[in-house]
């Protein structure tokens, strides 16, 4: 079976500085991949490249066997199949929660407004947000906003979800409610790539953990292997530092 997503020799440079140096990565359907690594290691850039928010400088990305980095591919059409959630939520502040959720189904997928609203309400109810449907984002807590952002991405029924450090801007007690939502997505069989600093969560939820260092995918394995028996000295050092920081 061919992977849902294949990244081949992906390079990305900002002003001549390489941020990604030849990344190779396969993600199978229903697989949950966690990207770990220090800030600036290229986790977010990799996710943005997969969603074509950044243009690859070399290499290729395939979604369901089709090259999406092909210059003739329509980025808008590619993005319709991919949901993305950002660190800073990026909800639309001038729209209510329900309007945020139904914008893409109505405007991009041409669903009738009533049908989109019904689906939106269903999704909000599933994540305990139905009573917030009419609120504006600035009236919600960070955790609620991020859950709305996840619902917004889900509303277009994506085949792949990209989550970019979705808990990094949250207070510790709000992190749990967002992680709960992600766990539920995994149980529903969603294919996901997460860039995360939550090592405990990565260990718990990931099928595969990738350690990025300076734009290189240095080590890839099961959470068990990466967290208990990392091969690379750099991985070991990174994990030791993260654990030290946790103890403080």
């Amino acid at each position: 079976m061919s992977p849902l997503l294949r990244v081949e020799g992906l390079w990305k440079l900002y002003h001549g500085n390489p941020v990604l140096r030849g990344i190779d990565l396969d993600v199978n359907a229903h697989e949950v991949v966690c990207l770990i690594g220090a800030s600036g290691s290229g986790k977010s850039t990799l996710l943005r490249c997969v969603n074509l928010l950044e243009t690859a400088d070399d290499g290729a990305i395939f979604l369901e066997g089709e090259e999406i980095t092909d210059v003739r591919a329509d980025p808008d059409r590619v993005r319709r199949g991919i949901g993305m959630v950002f660190q800073a939520y990026n909800l639309f502040p001038h729209m209510t929660v329900l309007e945020n959720v139904t914008l893409a189904p109505v405007r991009v997928h041409g669903r009738p407004r009533a049908e989109a609203a019904e689906l939106g309400r269903e999704l909000l109810a599933r994540f305990g947000l139905l009573d917030k449907a009419g609120e504006y984002p600035d009236r919600l807590s960070g955790g609620q906003q991020q859950r709305v952002a996840i619902v917004r991405a889900l509303a277009v029924r994506p085949r792949l979800m990209l989550l970019d450090e979705v808990t990094s801007a949250l207070d510790p007690e709000l992190v749990l409610e967002v992680l709960g939502v992600i766990r539920e997505l995994k149980e529903s069989g969603m294919t996901m790539i997460l860039a995360t600093h939550e090592m405990g969560f990565a260990r718990d939820i990931a099928d595969t953990v990738c350690f990025l260092d300076g734009g290189v995918l240095l080590e890839k394995g099961t959470p068990e292997q990466i967290f208990t028996d990392p091969r690379e000295p750099r991985t070991r050092e990174f994990l030791r530092r993260v654990l030290d920081a946790r103890r403080l």
Partner: protein, 287 residues
Amino acid sequence: MSTTTAVWEKSERQRERERLRRRAAVRSGSIATVSTVVFVVIAAWAIVNSPGWPRVKETFFSGEAFAMSFPEVLAGFWKNVQIFVIAELLILPLGLLVAVVRGLKTPVFFPLRALAVAYTDIFRGTPTLLVVYLIGFGLPALNLKGVPSDPMVLAVIALTLSYGAYVAEVFRAGIDTVHPSQRAAARSLGLGHLQTMRFVVLPQAVRRVAPPLLNDFVSLQKDTAMASVIGVIEALRQAQIDAGKMFNYTPYLVAALLFVALTVPMARLTDYLAARATRRRGPGGGV
């Protein structure tokens, strides 16, 4: 449920604090009143006792001339209002269109983008009065079929072109204030460039630029007086005519009062909207 509910009774310290605050408020209020009265009295005394005052009073503050010219200048002012309202309705879409066109990145749109840049550069750099002259006298001189010759229409065209350039820049500044992450979020949902503009960027941008836009409109209300130079008998021109007939400048005062009566409410609305925008962006306001 807690069994003890804290009941707040103002402490002596707090009561003393509030007493002092009240006293300070009364004091600053009376100082402001007294200083205003003193200033007005001195200014009025200085004017009334100036050597030229009897003459000024006669030529600028003649009750008779005021009563005579008021209906005519008011009728002329109605034209200012018409020019203003129609130009306004044309300027908003023109400015928005130019601002959006300047943001188009696809190479296909290069000619359009260049045109938008040239338009804003030229009309922002040319004095509005000059534009009124050029359009008012130049356009009809071309003798083209379908080109209007009514000076009212020509004035509307000139003011629209001139102010459209300013308003386009205001809209563009507003578009630039919308954080790129909003665009990224919209694009990640599959919205195209124009959909992102229409549903995500512009609604936020327009809200933010409402106060500066209103400021431009206050300015436009006054600049409708420039229509007088190409032969529209509006408030200023009518005042000139009346002043010439009566050998008295009071009609100018009439025109000035009418302009003030229209722009002051607009200015207050601008202040109110600006204050509201600041409050919303303040702490606890979120976005």
